[in-house]
């Protein structure tokens, strides 16, 4: 983008909050992830037996009324509860007291993919079964995509340029890019990331209509990206929130950053022609992000893949990675095999995971995959973590409809 980022204004991440199916809290999530412990299982939030998709990633430890103050909980959806909780964890982790910062220099930018689906289903059911006067007042502020950003802004008195971006699974990277843009302007601290939670009956049925979900019942065999046996993805809920600051602001208060946002690019795919070969512009996002970070492919230590587990999409992603890094040219991983795809929360969680990998010098594994498909010539980090210095990670994300985003994070 515009000018080269001077070190002082380089955006760094100083706080991480995670609400993931395999761990609530950053430490719980990271331990589970390194242990290869999956959070994917039978969907329990409703009777999923009657649906062809019965396996998902639920944040089962999460108790909405325990983690969110009662007055706030009634006016927000489960998706926002997870977002508010992750944001609170991230601020604590950053040891940053919003009350001590200038109100207009703090902003919130979150991604949403489908809004407050469960809350919305309850209210729309009242409308259609009982009548318009039975729709509650909080439908007007709980369901819409801006609810999480608005509530975090209010909770912490953050009055800067807040925002909401919806690009399905790519959203988690697009919002952090927007946070970075704000830090280059007049913001000093931005809470950014995403969560999603559409594991209610209407949310699941809507997801099923895209034809990309796994219908396998065995949680260990349901989500196998890049595998010859790939059969679609598992939907999940949760995500991550990050606290971003300029490096100068972080250093000034002796905060220890997890890493820096060094490069980013977003592209979009042309509409697929019926029967035609699909065209992916993911590679251009990768090279754009690397160019901006002024890094060459050989300087990248790991790629966190988007990992759809839909054979054709896996092949397109593998081609993009191999075109830039060469066949088997870089370690690739997909820890989301332990959470399912979290939509707006997915790439934000991958970004958090990449930063933890940098901190600890270890690449978390992809679980379940036995052998990569012939078309996927990737060095996939399977089953167990791989040690080694991780200084630079590339995170990839694709949003339904053609959104591509790539972000480079580096050690500071």
């Amino acid at each position: 983008m515009a000018e080269r980022t001077a070190p002082a204004t380089r955006p760094v991440v100083t706080g991480i909050g995670v609400a993931a199916p395999n761990g609530l809290g950053t430490q719980a999530y990271w331990s589970a992830t390194l242990d290869g412990k999956s959070g994917i299982g039978r969907i329990t939030r409703f009777d999923s037996d009657r649906y062809p998709v019965r396996v998902g990633g639920e944040v089962s430890e999460f108790d909405d009324t325990e983690h969110v103050p009662s007055r706030l909980a009634v006016q927000t959806d489960h998706w926002s509860h997870l977002g508010l909780t992750a944001a609170d964890m991230a601020l604590r982790d950053a040891a940053l007291d919003p009350a001590g910062l200038a109100e207009y220099e703090m902003a919130v930018v979150t991604a949403s993919s489908s809004g407050g689906t469960e809350f919305g289903q309850r209210e729309i059911e009242k409308l259609w079964s009982q009548g318009p006067r039975f729709v509650g007042v909080y439908q007007s502020i709980a369901w819409f995509y801006a609810a999480t950003t608005g509530q975090i802004s209010i909770r912490y008195g953050m009055r800067g340029p807040c925002g909401v971006i919806c690009t399905e699974q790519a959203g988690g990277l697009d919002v952090v890019a927007q946070a970075r843009r704000l830090l280059r302007q007049d913001a000093r601290m931005v809470v950014s990331g995403g969560t999603d939670a559409s594991l209610c009956p209407y949310g699941l049925v809507a997801q099923m209509s895209n034809g990309l979900l796994s219908t396998r019942d065995d949680p260990e065999r349901a989500y196998l990206p890049f595998d010859a046996d790939a059969c679609g993805y598992v939907p999940g809920e949760g995500g991550a929130m990050l606290v971003l600051e300029t490096e100068a602001a972080a250093r000034a208060r002796d905060a220890r950053p997890y890493g820096a946002i060094a490069g980013y690019a977003a592209t979009f795919d042309p509409r697929p022609e019926p029967g035609g070969e699909p065209v992916s512009n993911l590679r251009r996002a990768v090279t754009g992000a690397l160019d901006e970070a002024r890094l060459t492919p050989d300087q990248v230590d790991v790629v966190f893949a988007d990992a759809m587990a839909v054979p054709e999409r896996d092949r397109l992603e593998a081609q993009a990675i191999s075109a830039v890094f060469g066949p088997y040219g870089v370690p690739v991983t997909a820890p989301k095999t332990m959470t399912g795809r979290l939509y707006a929360g997915g790439a934000a969680l991958d970004l958090a995971t990449a930063l933890l990998a940098i901190r600890d010098g270890v690449i978390p594994p992809t679980v379940g995959v036995r052998a990569t498909a012939p078309a996927c010539d990737l060095d996939l980090v399977r089953t167990i973590p791989r040690d080694g210095p991780v200084r630079t990670a590339l995170v990839l994300a694709r949003g339904h409809g053609g959104f591509n985003a790539a972000m480079v994070v580096t050690a500071t």
């Binding site: 103050p69 009662s70 007055r71 909980a73 006016q75 006067r133 039975f134 509650g136 007042v137």
Partner: protein
């Protein structure tokens, strides 16, 4: 004849609008304003809607504006029930 008690009101408040962090609804809250308790105008609208649904009384817009305290809401509802 049905009457509407302060305990009924407490149940409705907690049920549809939650409980503010520093408040115990079992306390003597009847004459404390909703604003002081930590309930905003949306919360009061939601309480009014629940009362209408449960008891079938109509609460017009201006009446909601006049419900400044839980006790005022209870009194209004009982007047309507008696009418």
């Amino acid at each position: 004849m049905t009457t509407f008690s302060l305990d009924d009101m407490r149940r409705i408040m907690g049920g549809c609008a939650g409980v503010p962090e520093s408040v115990d609804l079992a306390d003597d809250i009847g004459d404390v304003t909703f604003v002081e308790l930590g309930y905003d105008s949306l919360a009061v609208l939601e309480m009014a809607a629940r009362i209408q649904q449960e008891l079938g009384v109509r609460i017009p817009d201006d009446a909601v504006d006049e419900m400044k305290t839980p006790q005022a809401a209870v009194d209004y509802v009982n007047r309507r029930l008696a009418a």
